[in-house]
Amino acid sequence: MTAPFPAPATMNDAAEMSGAQIIVQALVDLGVDTVFGYPGGAVLPIYDALFEHPQITHILVRHEQAAAHAAEGYARSTGKPGVVLVTSGPGATNAVTGITDALMDSIPMVVLTGQVPTTLIGTDAFQECDTVGITRHCTKHNYLVMDPARLGPVIHEAFHIATHGRPGPVVIDIPKNVQVATAPYIVPEQIEHRSYRPQVEPDSEAIASALALIASARQPIFYTGGGVINAGPEASTLLRELVELTGAPVTSTLMGLGAFPASDEKWLGMLGMHGTYEANMAMNRADLIIAVGARFDDRVTGRLDAFSPHSKKIHIDIDRSSINKIVAADVSVVGDAGRSLAALVAGWKAAGHTRKDLGEWWRRIEGWRATRCLDFPEDKAPEAEIMPQRAVKALYEATRHLDPIITTEVGQHQMWAAQHFGFEEPNRWLTSGGLGTMGYGFPAANGAQVAFPDRLVICIAGEASLQMNIQEMGTCAQYRLPVKIFILNNEWMGMVRQWQELTYESRYSNSYSDSLPDFVKLAEAYGWTGLKVDRLGDLDATIKTMIETPGPVMVDCRVAKLANCFPMIPSGAAHTDMLLQAAEVTGTMDDEAKALV
């Protein structure tokens, strides 16, 4: 092994660099401006190389899981890949939850992990773990680089894979001696991969078949997902254009919020378990579903044999394995959501299709809308307790003109945010959909705030989820990230408690958030501003203070403790069996329903 960096490359081969220098140079060449990480023994050479490259900002997190979530927040808000740097062993294993989260939600991410020297691999060395083995199933692809000359090609290829096709996380495991040894930095000439060539352009015949179905549908509905967001802002623009051309209603998954403006009259709200009545009823009664970049997740479909029984399905997805996985498609379009929408828009115009009279369909939808399913019972007196839904609505009204980026943790507050916070544009809504990771929202907010230092970034949190990565308050303080955390504090793991109420006759087994910290004092301990509000009459003023206070702010918003999130499709039920209000709750479920998550 050669001397540690910054020992110069040997005189007779000046082109050689240390592995660590190659890594950092490759990141610079790939346009990486931010790395989220945490140092440790097996990545010290890379950290030393970073020291010499001020063009890369390193954000020091307080736990590696938060590095991965912060990178997700950065990626989701910018559309660029997030980059993570962690050490071997516990550094890598701590990052696994965030990596899995990125896989489930198709977030482009490259994770560099240190590894023990190649000579010690397999000996149970200090801080050794089988990182490629552990991450094989939670990454889109992963590498163990045993030769410093391979670092250049592998890093360039990893970014290509993370960002092309269906995006996802890629792990590069780099033994410490590979970081220290020298080699030439090889930049691959072509980034076209030997075997990985995702189909981006949709098949024209499939597009023609899709257009024929859309043009003749009487009860069509667009069902859009995170794929539209991942395809870039132009995909959202094209979606809006296609919706305008066809006059069809739009619903979206949790991951797809913002692709279509919530203020548009054709927007039906989110669908699925906590979706709106009108969205779910329209899906059930539709004669055509146009699924774009969505994957018919079990949270969306409810009981499968009752899912939209009378409709034809067009399924547009960049991942062929998403098509026909859950629901059989009548027309499959494999391709990028944006390119596919562009082809549909162009095809619609070229064929001279005109908007069908969907008046009857819209009249039925208006009937479902008239249930006003998102209304909630509320005492409006100033001294009344705050309903969590009201808190989200108040936050929305107070901040919408500021075009904020909203992140959430996971649970009731997440669903209330999805229901009551309106999104007009993509990349403003960062939430953990597939994996449902408590502890995602706060570090994701930090990642977004790093990318957009001047934007208003708010993490809508639950008091339970927030505690899963609350150590990141230190990260915010260190980098002066003015993140606002708005805690809907009901002293319960609210969604768990709700399910226990609905499914287990209110036997609240271990779902009470006991021994909570004083969040205001905690905020102050980290040099933040802490605010607390527990009366409806003070809600707006507190939110205003939160927005106007520079630097990070934590709001402990005490809300009604036992509020439930409705509407709700109970597990194992059909879209048409929505619970709209608490009075309909039966308190128990059969085993078939209990077996579903």
Partner: protein
């Protein structure tokens, strides 16, 4: 509550992959992670420059699951192609087994006689044992091994199925 299962059908898949470390774990792991069946799996390097391997997988599942298996395999980064030989038409399947039989007298003679019927080759012998090499479909190998159980079967090693499409076209 009872857990119900759908009817399965058997498919033979030929998967061409980069010949790199961990590829087998990636493929086998995909099957275990997603709950797919592997009846047999064989793998070997097939290109002159040792860059590619061919994996033959015999799997079973309902048609929709088979479709998923193919799509899931196909999206793995090091996978070049996935061919469902059962779907694409006529193909040849072969398996090789080494079968060790020990015994003397009539049983030993009977073993040799049946090996002849099955066109199994003797690849090793002692005064009290034979090792037969048999090649054929899995059914044929199964039948031969079943007969050998009656003649002092000691040990069996099987390769699992390798398969290739009939005709002049490549996969």
């Amino acid at each position: 509550m009872k857990i119900t299962q759908q009817k399965a059908e058997r498919h033979v898949l030929a998967v061409t992959v980069d010949n790199e470390a961990g590829i087998l774990a990636r493929i086998a792991g995909l099957f275990s992670a997603r709950g797919y069946n592997i009846e047999s799996l064989t793998v070997a390097d097939i290109s002159a420059d040792h860059a590619l391997s061919r994996i033959t997988i015999v799997t079973s599942g309902p048609p929709a699951v088979i479709d998923q298996i193919i799509a899931q395999l196909d999206r793995l980064v090091p996978v070049h192609s996935v061919i469902d030989l059962t779907e694409t038409g006529a193909h040849v399947e072969r398996e090789l087994a080494l079968v060790k039989v020990a015994g003397t007298g009539e049983k030993r003679i009977e073993a040799l006689r049946m090996a002849d019927v099955f066109r199994a080759k003797v690849v090793d012998t002692t005064l009290t044992s034979f090792v037969f090499e048999i090649t054929g479909t899995s059914d044929k190998v199964d039948s031969f091994i079943a007969l050998m159980r009656e003649c002092g079967l000691v040990e069996v090693g099987r390769t699992g199925v390798v398969a290739i499409g009939r005709g002049s076209e490549g996969g």
